[in-house]
Amino acid sequence: MGGNLFSNLITIGIISISMLIFSTFTLLAFNLANFFNIWEDKIEIIAYLKRGIPSNEVGPLLEKTHLLEGVEVVRYFSPYDAMAFMETKLGGQKDLLEGIQPVILPASFEIQLKKDYRNSTKIKEVVTHLKKIPQFEEIQYGQEWVETFSVLVHILRLTQWILGGLLLIAIIFITSNTLQLTIISRREEIEVMHWVGASPAFIRVPFYVEGLIQGLLGSGLAIGFLFLLHRGLFFYIPPSMQTWLARIPVLFLPPETIAWILLGGMVLGFFGSFVASMRVLKYK
């Protein structure tokens, strides 16, 4: 019995480590995707006007831009507005702008998109239409960041699932081996059960339950440990970083994802025990 307990603890520990690795990637991907969504939501398109556009053309251009599909609000920023904005941003260092004439700054339209257009695919559609308007010199929307983030989230998700697949095989293998050892250590008892007419379900079900419990405990420990790590992040990082981080929500896994991970652990544990019982518990 002591030997079984030890091997069960080892199995739970290994399942826990495997699920922790998988859950960590899941958490990273989740937060990055979340951050990306928040950031994407705040994206604005800046359309810089060509120099020399008469002021009486600005109004109709504003109207035309506003009528484009996906555009919610359009604001005009004159060169003077641009200068004032820069002075505000520089604050105490606004003297750096001394001698710079506002006229050298381009006028621009700040375009806010409708909610369902605030994603990388739809943004590009709107930008394509804006580029067709000849009065615009340049269109900017942080495209490098959008693409980089999009790729990063995609890579993380891919890594998460490839790693998950490998860990899945490892968990099944480990659970199966532990349960084989358990079955072998109880072979006399199992043989007597066969002899006296115990049903196959009576003999196998306890091992399936054992596998389920191992999977549940393993994934539960992983989630618990990850939660402590997540909480610890805000206690042990420097205060200056905490201030910066506070603007970016670092969320823990949502309840449904936690439930899926726990369920996944149980299923893997069960499958491992099923494989073990098929290999070792042949009816005699």
Binding site: E188, E189, E191, V192, M193, H194, W195, V196, G197, A198, S199, P200, F202, Y283, K284
Partner: protein, 218 residues
């Protein structure tokens, strides 16, 4: 059994054209020297092995045609006694006997009661709380017999139940079988002890090299 053959993959023939019939309430010895096929014959009757060909019917069931999911139901009607007892060393006498009831769906209280009753029949009621390891070989064999009986099976298959026992203990064990037989249980007992078959005048089926013979060649 009708024309039963059992051949192993190595082409060794364990049983060759065995045809026999055992009637309810009979006491039948399966006699023969070591390796003649006695144990494999009992294993086939118990569905622990399948014949290579032939028909085997136990309690009206064609056991060569039933799936493993049905075997356990048949085994509840058969009590098996093995030469190495197959007792659980980490349990007491009573727990070993009650185990056979617990794993076949009986509740603990009922299992305990029946186990005590059966232990009384084999003369071990006073040893119910003893560990199996504290018992002699003969006593352990009696516990194995009690476990085989506890589900009240109509058929007992005993493979060399007296093989490891001294003369007095052999007598005690055979008295238990005799008593069971008188109560109507069908007994099939495999033995290489020719003295046993002479002392207890029951039907004897002789096996020699996997074949049924009329009488053993000395």
């Amino acid at each position: 059994m009708h024309h039963v053959f059992k051949t192993y993959p190595s082409q060794i023939s364990a049983l060759s054209d065995i045809t026999l019939e055992i009637f309810p309430g009979e006491f039948t010895f399966i006699a023969g020297s070591s390796g003649c096929g006695k144990s494999i014959l009992l294993r086939i009757l118990f569905c622990a092995d399948k014949p290579t060909s032939g028909e085997v019917i136990v309690h009206g069931i064609h056991i060569t045609q039933i799936g493993f999911k049905k075997i356990y139901q048949l085994r509840k009607t058969i009590g098996i006694v093995s030469p190495d007892f197959k007792l659980l060393r980490d349990r007491t006498v009573r727990e070993n006997v009650a185990f056979a009831l617990e794993v076949t769906g009986h509740d603990q209280k009922e299992s305990k009661r029946k186990a005590l009753e059966i232990l009384g029949r084999v003369g071990l009621e006073k040893r119910e709380e003893d560990s199996i390891l504290a018992l002699s070989a003969g006593e352990q064999q009696r516990v194995a017999i009690a476990r085989a009986l506890v589900n009240s099976p109509p058929l007992i298959l005993a493979d060399e139940p007296t093989g490891n026992l001294d003369a007095q203990t052999t007598f005690d064990v055979m008295e238990i079988f005799r008593d069971l037989h008188l109560r109507g249980t069908t007994i099939v007992l495999a033995t290489q002890d020719t003295g046993l078959t002479r002392r207890y005048p029951h039907r004897v089926i002789h096996l020699l090299d996997g074949r049924k013979v009329d009488s053993p060649t000395v």
